[in-house]
């Protein structure tokens, strides 16, 4: 296989998928780092975001215009879910919040299924031909996906490093007791975290939907890769989640060179087990909870 074919059939899809995983994994790692639990409803929240965008598209909007609106709505929903279902578990062992989030996942999924049904559907119909960029084939939606991910990641990192609230979030992730002693308001940081996580999650769901199709299980099937990516990169580390996402995405696309294509999903699981076995703190040395 020529180099350019390899790039077009494996690297490009791997990067697109990987950047979708990256955005989702950032949310997972933020919840791990700041709120300290494994957010099992993350995948289904992505599904919800994707379908909310579909609803906006139904009113006549272009999908990429619907995206920021869907992100906003999902951010609000995420904060609402926290206040209603996770807030009163705060003082109890974190594993119970994990358990609750598993239930929330099913609840979100069933809402999506009731409102939009279980049949797969696309944002837009029709075949789109890729454009050639010096031999590298990219469809507009793939280009926009990569660009959006870059914008989101750069924006988030800038927020975390240059704004007061961003530093407060990093402080809470780093040393929650000291953060409290410094005057950081736990509840406000929690709300802000959920808003950001909700928005990012919606984006990853949308981008998966626009590059493949929408169905009610789409987010759930991303859950394992997103967790693998977050843990691979180092729990609590945003840069790690991005790196982990790209690696998992590339590995998944390239796995068909070695294993039958039905086992693509197993790639993430193997990566997860390997990293837990060899280096639980991940590549960029995050926490081991």
């Amino acid at each position: 296989m020529s180099a350019i074919d390899f790039i077009n059939f494996y690297v490009v899809p791997g990067l697109v998928l990987g950047s979708i995983y990256a955005v989702g994994a950032i949310g997972i790692t933020m919840v791990f780092g700041i709120l300290r639990f494994a957010h099992f409803a993350h995948g289904d929240m992505a599904t919800l975001g994707a379908f909310i965008a579909l609803a906006f598209v139904g009113t006549g909007l272009d999908p990429w215009t619907a995206l920021p609106l869907a992100m906003l709505v999902t951010a609000v929903v995420a904060v609402g879910i926290d206040k209603t279902f996770y807030d009163y578990l705060v003082k109890r062992p974190k594993i119970l919040t994990v358990m609750a989030s598993l239930g929330i996942a099913l609840m979100i999924r069933s809402v999506v299924q009731v409102v939009w049904g279980v049949d797969p559907q696309p944002y837009v119909r029709g075949i789109v031909r890729p454009d050639s960029f010096g031999g590298i084939l990219l469809r507009p939606r793939e280009l926009y996906t990569l660009a959006t991910v870059v914008v989101l990641v750069v924006g988030l990192v800038a927020f975390l490093h240059y704004t007061r609230w961003g530093k407060a979030m990093r402080a809470m992730s780093d040393n929650p007791d000291l953060a409290r002693l410094s005057g950081v308001d736990n509840r406000q940081v929690t709300m802000l975290t959920w808003a950001i996580v909700g928005a990012l999650t919606a984006a990853s769901g949308f981008m998966l939907g626009i590059n493949t199709e929408l169905n009610s299980m789409m987010g759930w099937h991303m859950l394992l890769p997103m967790f693998a990516a977050a843990i691979l990169g180092g729990v609590g580390r945003v840069e790690g989640a991005v790196l982990g996402g790209l690696i998992v995405g590339l590995a998944e696309e390239m796995s068909v060179l070695i294993v039958p294509s039905q086992y693509k999903m197993a790639t993430a699981f193997v990566i997860l087990l390997l990293i837990l076995l060899l280096r639980p703190s991940g590549l960029l040395k995050g926490k081991v909870l």
Partner: protein, 315 residues
């Protein structure tokens, strides 16, 4: 005529409740007594089901199996393989926090599902496996059901007694000590990881056994039998509602939740077709909501853990 129908239905339900109760007991070993979050219950169940099916079923073209071994060997095989799968997962994850085990068991269940669907030569793929023998299958319908129910209840009772006995033994006290205060237990010199691994393997083997019991009841198995996540979740809420850390609570929870689940299915089945599918999703929503409510208002469940110092098992 009506009475027979009702009786048959009751027997049918009884068998399923018994199998779910067994799963709930097994999960209690993981979560209630050892504090392990197994999110892949359906996976171990499926493994047990398929192993027993492969070992005991009649031959069929296109897949291995058809060994037609005695049913008992099928069940033993189910337990062994389910336990064997638990071992590496446990070795890797048990030294880390529960969240990691939850993620990994979720992954295991997914992989098992993938393998079942893809490896036609092993599992019959989407066709599944048929021709699975049923103990007492030669009797006429109602007698056969009753006999199988008795069998399931016997297994359930045996497992219940075995676990209860272990709990009252030094092993049980040690497990509670490890669960409640791991640092202190480790300081006492107990091999914490080894004990937790034992519990994990044992519980998983029981889950495999439940799968085997199911498959011999059903006489066949296909991958679409039930959505694994919903099944796993049902068992979790059975345990939490019934009372984790309490074996009778586990069984009671299975009874209550299964009744609610099947009653609601009966209700939604009577609805017109278009609404019926919506209603089935709403049932899942309600079960998810029930978990939130239980966690909030009655986290210890209907039958709380019965030790003098109820601690960690009460969420």
């Amino acid at each position: 005529m009506e009475l027979t129908g009702l009786l048959n239905y009751a027997l049918f339900m009884g068998i399923l409740i018994g199998i779910y109760a067994l799963l709930s007991l097994a999960l209690n070993i993981h979560w209630g007594f050892t504090g392990l979050f197994n999110a892949g219950v359906a996976g171990f169940f499926a493994v047990g089901a398929y192993v027993s099916a492969i070992l005991t079923s009649t031959p069929a073209g296109g897949r291995i199996g058809g060994f037609e071994l005695p049913v008992v060997l099928g069940w033993l095989g189910a337990m062994v393989v389910a336990g064997a799968i638990a071992w590496p997962i446990g070795r890797i994850c048990l030294r880390l926090r529960s969240d990691y085990l939850a993620i990994a068991t979720l992954g295991v269940a997914e992989i098992i599902r993938l393998v079942i669907k893809s490896e036609d030569w092993l599992t019959g793929g989407s066709r599944g496996i048929t021709g699975i023998p049923r103990p007492f299958g030669d009797l006429d319908y109602m007698a056969s059901q009753a006999a199988y129910l008795a069998l399931v209840l016997a297994v359930l009772l045996a497992v219940y007694l075995a676990v209860e006995r272990q709990l009252r033994a030094p092993w049980g006290r040690m497990m509670r000590a490890i669960r409640d205060n791991e640092a202190a237990a480790a300081a006492m010199g107990k091999d914490v990881s080894a004990r937790r691994l034992e519990a994990f393997i044992f519980g998983s083997a029981i889950m495999g056994l439940a799968g085997a019991l199911f498959v011999h009841f059903n006489r066949s198995i296909t991958p679409e039998a039930i959505d694994p996540m919903i099944a796993t979740f049902l068992i979790w809420i059975m345990l939490i509602l019934g009372g984790s850390g309490n074996n009778r609570g586990a069984i009671l929870g299975a009874l209550v939740i299964w009744l609610i689940w099947s009653m609601s299915e009966m209700l939604t089945d009577r609805l017109p077709a278009e609404v019926a599918t919506q209603a089935s999703y709403i049932r899942v929503f309600v079960i998810g909501l029930m978990l939130q409510l239980v966690l909030r208002f009655r986290p210890e469940g209907i039958l709380p853990e019965e030790s003098a110092r109820q601690r960690h098992s009460t969420p």
